[in-house]
Amino acid sequence: MSRFYYYLVYLNMVVNIVASVPSIFLHYSREGALLGILLSVFFGALIIWVYTRFFNAFPGKGLPELLKLVMPNWFTKAALLYFSAVWFIAGLITLVTFSFLLLRFLVPDMPLLLVVINLVLFLCFGILIQTDRLLYSVEIVIVLFFPLILFILAKAGTTEKLRWDYVRIAVTYINQTPNFESFAAASFLFLGVANLVIFNRFFTTKQQFGLKQLFTVVIVGLIALLVTYFIPIGFHGLKGAESLVYPWIATSDALRMEYGVIERVVFIFLLFYFAISFISISIHWHVSFQLLKSTFDFGRFRIKSIPVMPFLITLLFGVLSAYATLRLTEHQLFIYTSFYYKLLTFSFVGTFALFWWMKRRLKHEKNSSG
């Protein structure tokens, strides 16, 4: 596959460390989180396989184009609207979490609203620029920050203050019924591939994707999951990690770089994750925006020949996220996010059926026309 495909997939795996995923895992660490996480790998593999194969069969075509070919108009519109909302919320969760983080750790004296407005202002560019340009900026961020993040993770894994005994204790909870919340949250790590619904427009040639590629992606996902879950436990103990609101922030704060320019790793960590989360929100909202754009005719409403709709949509995104950030408490965020992940799991099973149906219809169409 093209390297941009892997960026999309891996970005989702890495960015979740700061979002709600680890706190969902750790919240259920003594109620079957571990088995839920391990099971999600199979589901994740299935998602990656189905999505990649499906979109690979139609190079250069996004989901809206394909839906319009074979589905009735009302269904297309409803489905695209639903997907658009799903992607918007995915970005929103990251945005709200990160605004809270910034407020707590970097700019404690700044009003929350100002934090959000600043973020949204720059996210506008991510929403409005063309798909290929967004992918190029994704590449820059990934090339710059992935090695640094890997360094911090490696540092975390090799520090002697990390007690493997705690990790071993966490493993002894494997004989429990898998927990659905953590299964759903873990599956979210594998959903980066779903961005193909829009980004497939960029991949105009047919790509090579077989079992070998699938295997690499799934193994990386598994490692990401295990790191996400076990490293905070190793630093804070099973009970300690359970009570952390931001497990990974507390974990990076437990790291010390004796010879680093900045001794307290948490600030470097936040900075790196700021870049990664930012680009991840851009991707999610870009997809959301493009899906909306294909649902409604944006060209009709113009002022002095400039289409206004894109700006109105971004404004709407901004207002919604400001409202959500100001309104939500951390606990609500946790509850709603957990619910969202669960809903997503069902939605994705639904899309499997949809894809199967569409593939049949598309084949039929091809045969009858050719």
Partner: protein
């Protein structure tokens, strides 16, 4: 033509963003009071049990002017630590910045209180570093904070140097970070350990060579300097250590620059625990009363091996007798079985009666620079 109009608009929009660059209520650096260390003591007042002392850096205008370290001290008694900090903010004319504090000193009498509540406060605040070092001040925190040894430089508190890997190499210093203290309190199977800091006014020096093991129900257990050193070796956290080798004929000191220790726990079917400690030590002689030829080193090794085995075994035995577990052997027990097969009450009994087996491989590479 059309393009230039667009460019103009673009510039106008950019300019409207300019006010945002004024940045976010950032306070000048001299408007911040940087706290160097936080001290917590108990007061005599029942209504206001906690006494919080802060050691604050006093900024100098230039580096050349600052020939001596300068600190300001403030302290306050209050019902809780958070309350005390709030009240202290009214005493300092600048914004209190706790994020640069690297040291938390607990007074000795604080140890009698419920410490998990205390660490919870320190963990909960986002600005207090989880990597700050936790120490016990003897006789109390305030005295340790107020002390300024002669050797202190204007730029870096010398107490930091003991715990910083850049400074002291002493095997007697135990480094406990705040997050380690907290996890030790809330988790079954390990007792937190915390170094004791003393200050002697006559010599103007700190002494840090003892430690407290904090127990759940009973008084904290104090470790002697030698025991503290053994603890550091068993946890592989000393950079180097030394061993005194002594029998009827030999009296020598060996410097151990490479060592590795491994603790293993075995449980048999009847629930009897067996702890084996494997130590490997490599080093050289630094002092000897007698002339020791390199050929004789194997004999010295044998004596040293027995010496170390005895010391380590005595230490582990004392811990077992007292029911103190700073090494986290209980964690190893909990990790060895599925969670629903764990009976922690049984384990506490097994720990006290466990069999201890110490195995040392002692290897002197050289007799030092002379025979």
């Amino acid at each position: 033509m059309k393009k230039t109009v667009r460019d103009k608009w673009f510039i106008v929009i950019l300019l409207t963003f300019l006010p945002l660059l004024s940045s976010c209520g950032f306070k000048d650096i001299d408007k911040n009071a940087f706290v160097a260390a936080i001290g917590i003591d108990m007061s005599d007042d029942k209504e206001k049990p906690f006494k919080v002392t802060l050691k604050i850096f006093v900024p100098a205008v230039s580096f050349k002017q600052a020939t001596e370290p300068k600190y300001a001290y403030v302290s306050m008694e209050a019902r809780t630590i958070g309350d005390a900090l709030r009240l202290l903010e009214a005493k300092i004319e600048r914004r209190m910045e706790l994020g640069h504090s690297k040291l938390i000193v607990l007074g000795e009498d604080v140890l009698d209180e419920d410490l998990s509540e205390l660490t919870d406060f320190l963990m909960r605040r986002a600005d207090i570093q989880l990597i700050s070092w936790a120490v016990v001040g003897r006789p109390n925190a305030e005295e340790i904070l107020n002390a300024i040894p002669v050797s202190e430089s204007a730029t870096y508190p010398s107490l930091y140097n003991f715990f910083d890997v850049n400074g002291s190499n002493s095997p007697y210093v135990i480094v406990t970070h705040l997050f380690e203290l907290h996890r030790g309190f809330i988790e079954d199977g390990v007792n937190p350990i915390i170094p004791i800091v003393e200050f002697s006014k006559e010599n103007s020096t700190y002494t840090i060579d003892k430690a407290f093991v904090l127990l759940d129900e009973t008084e904290p257990l104090e470790l002697s300097p030698d025991e503290t050193k053994v603890f550091n070796v068993l946890t592989n956290s000393a950079t180097r250590t030394d061993v005194i080798i002594e029998d009827r004929e030999i009296l020598a000191v060996a410097l151990i620059d490479q060592y590795k220790s491994k603790l293993k726990l075995n449980m048999d079917e009847r629930g009897k625990a067996k702890l084996s400690a494997d130590l490997e030590m490599i080093g050289s002689l630094v002092e000897s009363e007698q002339k020791i030829k390199s050929g004789e080193l194997s004999r010295v090794n044998k004596v040293a091996k027995e010496d170390v085995e005895r010391t380590v075994k005595d230490f582990l035995q004392r811990l077992a007798d007292e029911g103190a577990d700073p090494l986290g052997i209980g964690l190893k027990y909990r990790g060895s079985k599925l969670h629903n097969e764990i009976d922690f009450k049984e384990w506490e009994k097994a720990y006290k009666n466990m069999e201890i087996d110490v195995n040392v491989k002692f290897d002197l590479k050289s007799t030092g620079a002379t025979y």
